[in-house]
Amino acid sequence: MTIATTGTTTLDRLPIGSQARVTGIDDKTGNADRLMEMGLLVGRPVEVARVAPFGDPIQIKVMGYHLSLRSTVARGIAVEIENASTTS
């Protein structure tokens, strides 16, 4: 798996700690509506806070709170990296 540091990518590939902005949500897993209701909206900032022991699920920070979701769902969320992480 390649980890992007700039440009557009999907949420599952976003490095821990980098700030990004949502650019699109794809509804393959049927969760887009719920995710939007919970604050994952196009244009909003999002950040990956950490990754669970086996690399899945991931914990993201959105609208100031923490949400965990699987990478299969995160893969459907397109983001644009704004501020690459300095730590990882």
Binding site: D33, R34, M38, P53, P57, H66, L69, R70, T72, V73
Partner: protein, 707 residues
């Protein structure tokens, strides 16, 4: 699907106010404060899954309904549906509430206002409680509740449900809801504005709502705004809901016809909210990592995360053993003193035997385990109130995914360590029906607190001496239940409950320092039923079992020289036991254990009471003071071999891990699945599993020369 608990809503002269809000926003904490009740509070989303009704202490004419949390009125799981149906007035034979208190987590204002504005749109008289106001203050942020009230058009009160701050204002607001002046003024709330296409979509849905008579006129528009979302109403569902299949069909048809711009609706609502938040909320907190971030860095660490959660579990079982030992010695001492006192007071005879060998040996031997159970509950309550439960779900999700379930199911499974009944209800939070059923089906495999006395009496009889070994074996039994639950879940998800892979979306709340009083209260509230059970079911069973063991009296011996073994053999219970002995002998059990197993179908801990009674009847005073575990060790087969060898002990515990010996569990499964099909299946598979596993352990062990 589920018939919700029928707590009466009293009719006249009372106003009913519903508490709604996002999960974990503090609804139940506020409810408890206002009504004086003690409903369960814990720091993870999805604690409340049923509704609870209570009168406001300071205002007995006002009734509150505590509801499950939801992120949106577009509900996706049963608990969310229940909350929606109460608000919409869709519960059978019930009206819409007279008012609503939206409990908002002020430290997470933006997301919480999503639901709050949806509720305000409904047009019911509404109060917004900005709870967790202390968290906002601690962060040095500022929240202007007056301005927020202006923006929303409803009263807004800052509260801290933990300390009771803001409760006076909340009471005043509740009273004002009912006052004639407020009613005459009408509802000044501001509905969320939407663009033209959205409004015409709402209008079309409103027409359906009106023509099918699904809402009062004032609520029609608000309800239509929810119903146009594709997830809002589905075909399957619940039985509390008064919508007919035709109603649902009409909604779904209309929805399909309207090109619903759901994304745009969500965005428009959040745009309005963003404007409001920027006007009322001043954020001074910098981006520095919070305490929760720092704790999570360790507890959900890639490597340490799992190590830590296993260590916590291990420590829990060690604590149950080592921490409870002195307490247990104390209780045991009291029980034996009681028996001696009763003996000397009552002398000999039938009545004395009933008291000493029936009541005290039965109930006493169960009460001995109260300390262990309390310690277990204390630790679970501590973890639940800290916020760790959601982290366990997060860390375990990957492992759960191998079974086809997701991490969310792990929370009910964990609470099943205490009791399967609330765990089965907690499965309501799982949005997929198949996943929910799978979770329900395997939850009773987790070792509940009623099994604990059985394990401990066996372990402390046959493996006595080494606390590490004892705790290790106990841990193994719990692990066996858990691993089997996961395996059965995997089988169910691949066969009869096959379905698309579940999605896992879970909010991780901030850690909070568990409050000692809450944790103690929770411990007591859960331990109490165990004591009640000891005083009722177990007492009754002890007396019945005693009588069955005492009668008929052997007539070939003189009254003062009764051969207790012979007496027991020819008593009613002895005869019954010997009838079933051939069935259980392959598992290594003698007829006394068999009687214990049979009586466990009333409640598992009755096993211990039965052993106490069966081994006690007809004995003299000196022997009654011997603890039960020693009596068990002294039990012999007719040919002189010991009955309870370590191998038999393990076989017996394995039986208890798997066997479905709980009427309340079967009853709740029937209620939650709406029929006898699933409980029957559960009973059959678990009992078969118990027999086969025990058989394999015992026969295998003997073949290996372990017996």
């Amino acid at each position: 699907m589920i018939v919700h608990s029928r707590e009466p809503l009293s009719a006249q002269n009372t106003q009913t106010i519903a508490l709604v809000g996002n999960p974990n926003s503090g609804k139940t904490s506020l409810f408890n404060r206002l009504t004086g009740q003690r409903r369960k509070v814990a720091n993870y989303p999805g604690v409340t899954v049923d509704r609870h009704v209570g009168a406001v202490t300071r205002d007995p004419n006002t009734q509150l309904i505590d509801l499950p949390g939801c992120y949106s009125l577009v509900s996706r799981s049963l608990d969310e549906q229940l909350a929606r149906d109460v608000l919409f007035g869709w519960i059978r034979n019930e009206q819409t509430p007279d008012g609503v208190i939206v409990v908002v987590d002020a430290s997470n204002l933006e997301r919480n206002l999503f639901l709050a504005t949806q509720v305000i749109d409904l047009g019911l008289p509404t109060i917004v409680a900005c709870n967790m106001i202390d968290v906002v203050r601690d962060r040095r942020d500022q929240l202007d509740t007056h301005k927020l009230a202006q923006q929303l058009g409803v009263p807004v009160i800052g509260t801290d449900a933990r300390t009771g701050e803001g409760l006076d204002e909340l009471h005043n607001a509740i009273r004002a809801l009912d006052s004639p002046t407020t009613k005459a003024m009408g509802h000044p709330a501001k509905r969320t504005p939407f663009d033209k296409p959205a409004q015409s979509a709402f209008q079309e849905m409103s027409n359906v709502v009106t023509s099918r008579n699904l809402a009062t006129p004032s609520m029609t528009d608000g309800i239509a705004r929810i119903l146009i979302a594709p997830d809002s109403v589905s075909d399957d569902g619940d039985t509390w809901n008064k919508l007919s299949p035709d109603d649902k069909h009409a909604i779904i048809t209309a929805r399909n016809a309207i090109e619903t711009p759901v994304a745009s609706l969500v965005c428009q609502r959040y745009d309005t909210i963003a404007t409001i938040v920027s006007a009322v909320h001043i954020k001074n907190s910098d981006g520095r990592p919070t305490a929760t971030d720092r704790i999570d860095r360790v507890l959900t660490h890639r490597f340490w995360g799992l190590t830590i959660s296993s260590t916590i579990m291990g420590a829990m079982f060690l604590a149950v053993f080592s921490g409870a030992a002195p307490l247990m010695d104390g209780v045991e001492f009291v029980v034996s003193q009681l028996a001696t006192a009763a003996r000397s007071l009552l002398g000999t005879g039938v009545f004395a035997d009933l008291v000493v060998n029936g009541v005290i040996a039965g109930v006493g031997n169960v009460v001995v385990f109260v300390p262990q159970i309390a310690i277990l509950f204390f630790i679970i309550a501590f973890l639940e109130d800290s916020g760790y439960m959601a982290r366990v779900a997060f860390v375990m999700d990957r492992i759960m995914s191998a079974t086809g379930l997701h991490g969310r199911s792990f929370i009910p499974l964990l609470s099943s360590f205490a009791c399967a009944v609330p765990a089965i209800m907690a499965a309501r939070t799982i949005d997929s029906r198949r996943d929910r059923l799978t979770t329900i089906m395997v939850a009773p495999l987790m070792s509940c607190s009623a099994r604990l006395p059985v394990y401990i009496v066996i372990i402390s009889a046959v493996f006595a001496g080494n606390v590490w070994l004892e705790a290790g074996i106990l841990f193994t039994m719990y692990a066996l239940g858990l691993v089997t639950a996961l395996m059965i879940a995997a089988v169910l998800k691949r066969t009869i409950l096959k379905g698309p892979p579940a999605t896992f979306i879970l909010e991780l709340p901030p850690y909070r320092r568990p409050r000692f009083t809450i944790v103690c209260r929770e411990t007591w509230d859960r331990t109490k039923p165990f004591l009640t059970q000891a005083g009722t079911v177990i007492l009754a069973f002890s007396v019945i079992l005693w009588a069955l063991a005492y009668y008929p009296r052997a007539n070939n011996t003189s009254p003062d020289n009764i051969d207790t073994t012979a007496q027991l053999r020819q008593s009613y219970i002895g005869r019954l036991g010997q009838t079933i002995e051939p069935v259980i002998k392959p598992l290594g059990f003698d007829w006394k254990i068999g009687v214990g197993l049979a009586s466990s179908f009333a409640a598992r801990e009755v096993f211990v009471a039965t052993m106490g009674v069966v081994h006690g009847v007809g004995e003299d005073a000196d022997e009654t003071s011997v603890p039960l575990r020693e009596k068990l060790l002294n039990d012999k087969w007719p040919d002189g071999r010991r009955v309870l060898t370590p191998l038999v002990g393990v076989s017996l515990m394995v039986f208890y891990v798997f066997a479905c010996q709980c009427m309340s569990t079967l009853a709740i499964v029937k209620r939650e699945t709406n029929g006898w099909r699933w409980p029957t299946f559960m009973f059959c598979y678990m009992t078969t599993l118990a027999y086969v596993a025990s058989f394999v352990v015992y026969q295998g062990g003997q073949a290996l020369g372990l017996g």
